[in-house]
Amino acid sequence: MLLAVHDLRHTYGDEVALAGVDLSVDAGEFVALLGPNGAGKTTLVRSVIGLIQPTSGSVRVAGGSPARAEVRRRLGVVQQDVGFPSTLTVREIVEGAAARAGAGKDRAKAAMTEMGLADLARRRASNLSGGQQQRLQLAMGLVADPALLVLDEPTVGLDAASRKAFWATLEERRNRGTGILLTTHIVEEAAALADRIVVLHKGRVVAEGTPSELQRTLPGRRVTARTSVPAEVLRAVDGVVSVTASDGEVDIAATIAEPVVRTMLELDPTTSDLVVATAPLDDVLIALTNETKEMVA
């Protein structure tokens, strides 16, 4: 196993960021880490790349601790909120990263081209735009041909073309056996790319599986209807996660549809325009990480 995280806990002061997380990534496996703001994704990433010493639990990268520099050298990393020195050019930074990994200038050039930085090679790195700096981080991460890529929201700030190119690169690396751990807020991105999705909420893994497994085992339903039954009544029904009502139309998110449909028809036999649909995965995940009601027992 390339990455093995076991019972990882981390607290900042008395803020619990990770409350016991288990996670693994195999060679050639693409794992997407999803979760709302503050879920603990970055804290998990920082533990994996050896930037913080977790309060307890263990992290193993290719069998070694990321606290050791030679273990970290096997990682390709994109972090949130990094900056580059104003004194070095794009080329110097990428070539430096290549040289440190024992690779030549040709590899540095290839990585720059791959990330669309060839025309920016002579620019000072700190003068790049946000998306360009993000691509520079990616080029640095890819140039060493790492065993494991750890990417914290790598597509934030990328334009559509760059994002597509980046996805293609990831896919190609994965097929060549690179393990990938990527955090994102974009559910479609995770669903389209990942072999496995791990959903983090309040420092815990609340759901895990392939995109289709999640879709199946997290029975998200969306029920819409025209009814006189008040929203407060519907909210109390078994399986209901949220209700929005206006002008007699209700829009209900629920784990299962039958109880709420039955209630509506019993209390208001004139209920009409009844539609039951499978909720898209992102609605399911929003419901899953919703503060008001727990969906998973």
């Binding site: 990393v77 972090q79 004194t87 110097e92």
Partner: protein, 240 residues
């Protein structure tokens, strides 16, 4: 070895491309020295190397205390230090590169001070003696770079500059680098004699006045050991 060279090269390139910091830490000691030479040069005419030692000490200290720390703080603030740490560059290498890269800087300050003494003060030196003093100062000042790095890894660039200045100026005065002890109250001399900066100046003076050197050397060695430890601890526990 190659990785170490890359680190040092990046540091040197950084210094050359952003010379404003260099400018001030070189200009100030050299400016002061030139001023003193122009004012009191006549009285010192026969002092030779002895007179460049205190100012030379101040010059190398200014460079080596200010620069690595400010560079570190800047990299820290930008988030570049996190990139470095994660890319598997060992801790000691990051610190050592900053320390080593300040050597050419220190040499430049000494050269400028000597040139000022020769051209403004019209003074004569024994070249061999000057070379020995240079070597002692450049190597002897390196332990102070560790403290600079330690402070730089904990605070922002502006704060680092302020804190390091607040350390540099009083220690220079108390160590007798600006005014000789004969001109200062005895209490100051007593405080000064426990500061490592004072021992650096004495060690650099030894080849000139034939004074004792071993004690001063030991103090600097201890300073280096403590400094390396403090720098390592500060960097390791810094919130990157």
């Amino acid at each position: 070895m190659r990785a170490m060279w890359l680190e040092i090269r990046d540091e040197l390139v950084g210094i050359l491309r952003e010379p404003t910091a260099l400018f001030f830490s070189v200009l100030m000691p050299v400016g002061f020295f030139t001023f003193f030479v122009a004012m009191f040069g006549e009285a010192w005419e026969n002092a030779g190397t002895a007179m460049i030692v205190p100012f030379g000490t101040f010059g190398v200290l200014a460079v080596v205390l200010m620069n690595p720390g400010i560079g570190m703080a800047d990299a820290h603030q930008r988030g570049w230090l996190r990139v470095k740490r994660v890319s598997g560059i060992p801790l000691w290498m990051t610190i050592a590169a900053k320390v080593i890269a300040s050597i050419p800087y220190a040499v430049a300050v000494l050269a400028a001070i000597t040139a000022s003494a020769v051209f403004v003060g019209d003074m004569r030196f024994d070249a061999g003696e000057v070379a020995v003093v240079f070597a002692v100062l450049v190597l002897g000042v390196l332990p102070f770079a560790f403290f600079s790095v330690a402070i730089g890894s904990r605070v922002g660039a502006n704060a680092a500059a302020a804190i390091l200045n607040a350390i540099l100026m009083p220690s220079a005065i108390v160590s007798g680098l600006w005014f000789p002890y004969e001109m200062l109250p005895e209490a100051i001399a007593r405080i000064g004699s426990v500061l490592p900066t004072y021992h650096l100046a004495r060690l650099a003076m030894a080849p000139v006045d034939g004074g004792a050197w071993l004690g001063h050397l030991l103090v600097l060695a201890a300073t280096a050991a403590v400094g390396a430890m403090v720098a390592t601890m500060a960097y390791r526990s810094a919130r990157l």
